[in-house]
Amino acid sequence: MTQSRESDHPLTTRPFPTARPSGCPFDPPAPFAEARQECPVSPLRYPDGHIGHLITGLRSARAVLGDTRFSSLPPGKRSPVKVPGSELSTDVLPPGMFVNMDPPEHTRYRRLLSKHFTIRRVRELRPRIQEMTDRLLDEMEGKGGPVDLVEAFAKPLPTLVTSELLGLPEENRAQFGHHVDVLFSLSSSGEEMQESMTLLGGMLHALIAAARKDQGPDILGRLTVETDLTDEELLGITFVLLIAGLETTTNMLGLGTYALLRHPEQLAALRADWSLMDGAVEELLRYLSVVQIGPIRVAAEDFEFEGRPIRKGEVVTVSLPAANRDPLGFDDPDAFDIRRGATRHLAFGSGPHQCMGHHLARLELSIGYESLLRRFPGLELAVPAEEIGLREMMVTYGVLGLPVRW
């Protein structure tokens, strides 16, 4: 495998930046803008010394994600920063983990799963999601402030929705939530993660066995009846749905609420006219771009991309926060403006791996934000902003906690 040397590049070779500017926790790390100004495709140094590429421009990001010469297969793929849990990933591809596959294998899974995430199916879920949301808000209100919004709302809502989609019995949901929590937590040790992984695997195995027997209306029940997917494949698929759908939505709910509280004039406009909600969700998706490390791809062959030589084996990391602040894609990109009509963002990625759950995510976010804000007209931070901890070193950006009162 050929590896490029630093001297090949006339451009600055950077490590992947993670530190957010001190003034604004919502702005991407400053070196991304410098890199984009030099070139939207620039050299990137990985922790093991590998030199690959960093994508910071909107157009280039869309092009990379839509070009299957940039492969999603694991061999040689590496994270541009060491993040908790990254040591758990391996070069072997477990069955059903279609995020790490290329077409046509990848396409087979998408075709089997997409019917459960179409706009029509997702809209049918609205009343149930509203019910779950209202119940969580009742509990919050009953407890009285201050509460940590992440623990009381942002985490449990996506967990409840996903549990229901997968057909997880009510009595197992708390335990399920706990294991997912450990897997995604900054403070878990490697041992704790391994243990939760094993226990969660056991729970999901039991769930799949029950789905085969009961053949219920939930996704797993349908998949056992309508497809020939094996138990191992179903396990992989379930893990993908958990990894892809929970942390992302949780952090959008938490960080999104924080962003609204820090922009009172925007929040007031929204409270005065709820029809701005869909636009606000799009702008929050763009402005916050919580998937902050990756998507990551590996060049499957030598070729030229936007005038730059790409060699087989080189690892390419797309920065969605950077792409979504590209001045060539958005006027005044660093301004948070819920009325800008920011629909062409890449918060859900692009190409064959574009988020399969985007309709569901949009629905959870619009119901979540609106119900929360309507319930608590006086919602505010319960601590000074400087005390809000941030998830700088995680794949998904967000707040560590969000103490609020009303």
Partner: protein, 63 residues
């Protein structure tokens, strides 16, 4: 306005349906795009062009 789509490449996530529901639908079996109207009137032009721009697989061609 004439629309063509390449269904084989469609990723089935239905961004087109979100943007231009009068013109695009999603197949209930595999999520892929269904072209409801291959020659919609001009009142749909901006929505269709938006859908073509946002389609993650760039499989919508507007002529």
């Amino acid at each position: 306005m004439q629309i063509e789509i390449d269904k084989d490449l469609c990723c089935g996530a239905g961004t087109c349906t979100l943007v231009a529901p009068d013109v695009f639908d999603q197949d209930d079996e595999d999520g892929t795009v269904i072209l409801l109207d291959a020659a919609p009137g001009d009142e749909h032009r901006s929505a269709v062009e938006e859908a073509a721009l946002r389609c993650p697989m760039a499989v919508i061609t507007v002529g």
